[in-house]
């Protein structure tokens, strides 16, 4: 116990780590007691509502607020800086003005009395159409890279060499696939919209913010308000959905504080549903044309692709670098990227940024290769992995993917269900199909600091400026402390969600579980060593003979040589023992690691008459290093798959080409999966000692990556026809069948 180095216990020796337990804030959330930013109600609080620009591209000519100001109940009218006369608005929904009032109704009524003149400008929103984007001057080169296995000779012209080399490689390929694949943009669609409830106390700002970045948004508020960062406290006990879009207060959060400062009253400003979808984040679209060549075994020899992608009005999109083709690394490749600028809201990081799209537009091509060969898709994926010594794949090791594919195939009963593409037996108009895809993610631990307090009465609490996005961070922290201190996890108090707590990193990129596990294992180990020294002295034994388990500290196997946890804590003295735990991102550590692999398989039913696709069964096998909170980890995988089913089958942003309007920005039109749409989902965490011993690795991103490609491949297997662009709506399924003459 005096050993102060940090490590995890072996799997068979754990008391809390990796156990299936109920989350500690479950009842609070399920019975409506948990308070979110939207729920905060402060004395004398005003409610503010904002008006979004009805036009996708326009200039603000004038704004007359005089009538709005006279509406009964209206207290304050705020015109946003970016909507001041003369400003250009680049996407529909961008906020023009906010009105703070005594009631919701008065605020909305006030908005209706704003008189605004717009000057209309040219609109472009057709991001799927490369030719149209080029004609409208909205397409720009986003870079590219080419690589050949053979090097040019000293006398060769490099360009000519590459061209000749690609020609040779395609000529020598036994199979050549020309394909087109795409995936439309989707929004984050957080059920709690972005927004803040704020109050001033003198010069100090208290901001309840729906955020994934408790420890980093105080400075952003301070920047926007020209005050000192230490005069801001950001709080977020619970957040209603954070999938990568909630790292900042945003200009409307800062505006809430400005309105509050101007009125001297607390203000709540939350986006409306359609503003949430229009302006608060979306995942870039991506469309790809590819020619790939493979040898007689289906091993890809050459990849040649061009893709176009749109991150909306502010540009950017899915990069070619690192993700095209996804995971697989052909020795010869040429890839180029085109960015399309539209008059739609700007992209934000969306769970596993770029990976789901890259997977959906490239693993489909690999499945088409299998279809062409008349081969089992799983075999073709396996043959392209390479070996651990001669890899053909990035991210996780080929041996991990191989083991996971075999496990998933067993759970899916793949071999029994498999039929060549388009050759399954039909039941009436319904055909079935199988598809798979694989994915990787880093998920290394983020910065995290915590302050662990052990009271002389034995109670334990921790203070950490992290946040729980709903993944069970509170519960995971309690389990780490429980494991380390040998006490039940249920009594441990986890305080998080304030910028006044020890700084922890933002929750993005699957970095939180690693970070908080690091800081808390370290703090608890150090605290236990201190208590252990006191216990050793009291018992007259050597400190390194002590263990903490079952709420006792003592010599292993000698019940008479032990103290209860409470008795041990009594030795601390009058004041609590306080220990800090710190971890800096990137520090090599036996406690955490990065890089996981996962495999997903879908079994679908497709009705050829209606074009409707149904998920029958879905299997996910996921590596995540050492599992901390097993039940919550499984929940996160289920959730990621269901999110993936939504974007594979239902979810898309639909924009009107003429006006640029985002047409389906309400939930009745923005189709998400519902409870009856998910089929049977089987989740298996792949945690052999070889992977577990690496330590804790984040899980948020990886399982959301593969569903699109796996489901698209399953539909292609069912129909014998590729439906090229996700989501696979009934209309698109029928169009693809018609095009192939199979309707």
């Amino acid at each position: 116990m005096a050993d102060n180095s940090y490590s995890w216990p072996k799997a068979e020796e754990t008391s809390a780590l990796g156990k299936r337990v109920n989350r500690i804030d479950g009842v609070e959330k399920a019975s409506g007691r948990a308070k979110y930013t939207y729920d905060i109600q402060l004395p004398k609080q005003l409610i503010a509502r904002a008006l979004g620009c009805p036009h996708a591209h326009c200039k603000i000519v004038s704004i007359d607020t005089s009538v709005a100001e006279k509406v009964p109940g209206v207290v304050h009218v705020h015109v946003f800086e970016k909507a001041k006369p003369g400003s250009e608005i680049q996407w529909q929904g961008e906020l023009i003005a906010a009105i703070a009032a005594e009631s919701d109704g008065a605020a909305v009524e006030g908005l209706s009395k704003l008189k605004i003149q717009y000057e209309m400008l040219e609109v472009f929103v057709d991001d799927a159409n490369l030719a149209a984007a080029q004609a409208a001057n909205r397409a720009t080169k986003g870079g590219g890279k080419e690589q050949t296995e053979r090097e040019p000779g000293d006398d060769d012209d490099e360009k000519e060499f590459v061209t000749a080399e690609f020609a040779r490689l395609f000529k020598e390929s036994k199979y050549v696939i020309d394909g087109f694949y795409g995936i439309d943009a989707i929004t984050h669609c957080c059920l709690e919209p972005h927004g803040a409830t704020v109050a001033w106390n003198g010069d100090k700002l208290l901001a309840y913010l729906s955020t994934q970045n408790v420890s980093g948004t105080d400075e952003q508020f301070a920047d926007g308000l020209k005050i000192a960062a230490d005069d801001v406290e950001v709080r977020c006990e619970h957040i209603g959905g954070g999938f990568g879009s909630k790292f900042a207060p945003d200009y409307w959060g800062v505006a809430a504080a400005e309105i509050s400062r101007a009125t001297g009253r607390p203000v709540k400003l939350m986006l409306d549903r359609d503003q949430e979808l229009k302006i608060a984040g979306n995942r870039p679209s991506a469309y790809l044309k590819v020619k790939l060549g493979a040898d007689a075994n289906g091993v890809i020899q050459v990849w040649d692709s061009e893709h176009w992608t749109s991150g909306g009005a502010t540009g950017g999109g899915v990069p070619h670098n690192g993700v095209i083709p996804y995971v697989f690394e052909p020795k010869n490749y040429r890839r180029s990227q085109i960015n399309i600028q539209t008059n739609l809201g700007p992209q934000r990081a969306w769970r596993a940024p770029n990976h789901p799209q890259a997977c959906a537009i490239t693993h489909t091509a690999i499945d088409d290769l299998a279809a062409r060969m008349g081969a089992d898709s799983m075999d073709i994926f396996l043959r392209n992995l390479g070996t651990d010594d001669a890899r053909r794949i990035g991210g996780a090791k080929p041996s991990v993917y191989r083991a996971e594919i075999e496990l998933a195939a067993k759970l899916m009963d793949w071999k029994a269900k498999w039929h060549p593409h388009g050759k399954g037996a039909a039941k009436g108009s319904v055909v079935d199909g199988l598809g798979l895809a694989i994915h990787t993610w880093g998920g290394g631990a983020n910065d995290s600091n915590c302050n662990l307090k052990i009271h002389p009465d034995g109670s334990v609490e921790t203070f950490c400026g992290t946040q729980d996005l709903g993944v069970g961070t509170r519960t995971a922290i309690a389990l780490v402390l429980s494991e380390t201190l040998g006490i039940p996890y249920t009594g441990i108090k986890v305080n998080l969600g304030s910028s006044k707590l020890p700084v922890s990193g933002p929750s993005g990129g699957s970095t939180t579980i690693g970070g908080v596990s690091e800081s808390h294992r370290r703090a608890a180990t150090d605290a236990l060593a201190k208590i252990g020294d006191l216990v050793a002295k009291k018992l007259g034994v050597a400190a390194d003979t002590l263990v903490a388990a079952n709420s006792r500290i003592g010599v292993k196997g000698q019940p008479d040589k032990s103290l209860s946890w409470k008795e041990a804590c009594n030795l601390i003295g009058m004041r609590p023992l306080e220990v800090t735990g710190s971890f800096k991102r990137g520090t090599p550590s036996p406690l955490s690691n990065s890089t996981v692999g996962g495999v997903q398989m879908a079994h679908v039913l497709v009705d050829k008459d209606t074009g409707v696709v149904k998920i029958n069964k879905f299997v996910a096998v996921q590596d995540m290093g050492l599992v901390v909170a097993r039940k919550q980890a499984e929940s996160q995988i289920y959730g990621a798959i269901i999110m993936g089913i939504a974007s594979a089958l239902f979810e898309q942003r639909i924009a009107d080409r003429a006006s640029g309007a985002f047409l389906n920005s309400e939930l009745r039109d923005y189709k998400l999966a519902r409870l009856g749409d998910i089929g049977d989902i089987v989740v298996e965490i792949y945690e052999p000692e070889s992977e577990r011993s690496r330590g804790v690795i984040g899980l948020g991103e990886p399982p959301v990556i593969s569903p699109g490609a796996a489901i698209s491949n399953a539909v292609a297997n069912a129909l014998g026809v590729r439906v090229p662009v996700l989501p696979l709506t009934p209309q698109r399924v029928l169009e693809a069948l018609q095009k192939a003459g199979r309707a």
């Binding site: 939207y38 008006l51 909305v108 209706s112 709690e192 959905g241 359609d274 309400e666 999966a673």
Partner: protein, 206 residues
């Protein structure tokens, strides 16, 4: 240079109008024209008259009489959340398409965001908070046991939907559960766990 006269797809987002117009709720439609007017820069001159004035009414909420002050346009959701500190029902969508504000009115699940408070005098209003307390309802317990929640923002609405569905179908099969709970949206993807929670409640006979 034009004054905006956008129609149809330019709707910046207040959608209760369409929903309520079709519902025959005349009072609702009138009161909520405020939202509609906000959607139309053109609709300023000839908008309908707005009925103003606050009135105090008594609502029966979770078995208690509660005095609240409302305007004709005040929704039940607004009253619960801003006057009664009952924030379990959530403002996820105006029109009830998310199920996020599900409460029970005389035992029937309804969206509090689509109900006007003045119309509910004399009705029994039950919110999710009534299922909590020191002895939580079986549905709440099953949600926790089956980890049928993540961020938790949709969860109260879902808990109410499941409670109402199982009150009506206490012997529901899995297929019936999958078919009968499609009025609520969860973005985190807790459906698989919710199905298991609902099955467990049926098995437990509660």
């Amino acid at each position: 240079m034009t004054e905006s006269t956008i129609k149809g797809p330019g709707d910046p987002g207040f959608s209760r109008r369409d929903f309520l117009r079709g519902s025959g709720a005349v009072a609702a439609a009138t009161a909520l024209q405020t939202h509609a007017a906000a959607a139309n820069q053109e609709g300023q001159a000839a908008g309908p008259a707005i009925v103003r004035g606050e009135t105090t009414i008594t609502l029966q909420v979770n078995g208690e009489s509660k005095k609240v002050t409302v305007e004709p346009r005040t929704t039940l959701l607004e009253v619960l959340r801003t006057q009664l500190d009952l924030t379990g029902a959530k403002p996820i969508s105006h029109d009830g398409s998310s199920g996020g504000s599900t409460v029970m009115i005389d035992g029937k699940p309804m969206s509090a965001s689509t109900l006007l408070a003045v119309a509910l005098v004399g009705k029994k209003i039950q919110t999710v908070e009534s299922l909590g307390g020191p002895k939580p309802d079986a549905v709440v317990k099953a949600f926790v046991e089956h980890d049928a929640l993540q961020c938790g923002f949709c969860t109260p609405g879902f808990v109410m939907a499941v409670r109402a569905f199982l009150d009506k179908h206490p012997q529901a099969t899995e297929a019936e559960i999958r078919g009968g709970l499609n009025g609520n949206i969860c973005r985190c993807g807790t459906y698989a766990n919710i199905i298991q929670a609902a099955i467990a409640v049926v098995k437990g006979g509660k």
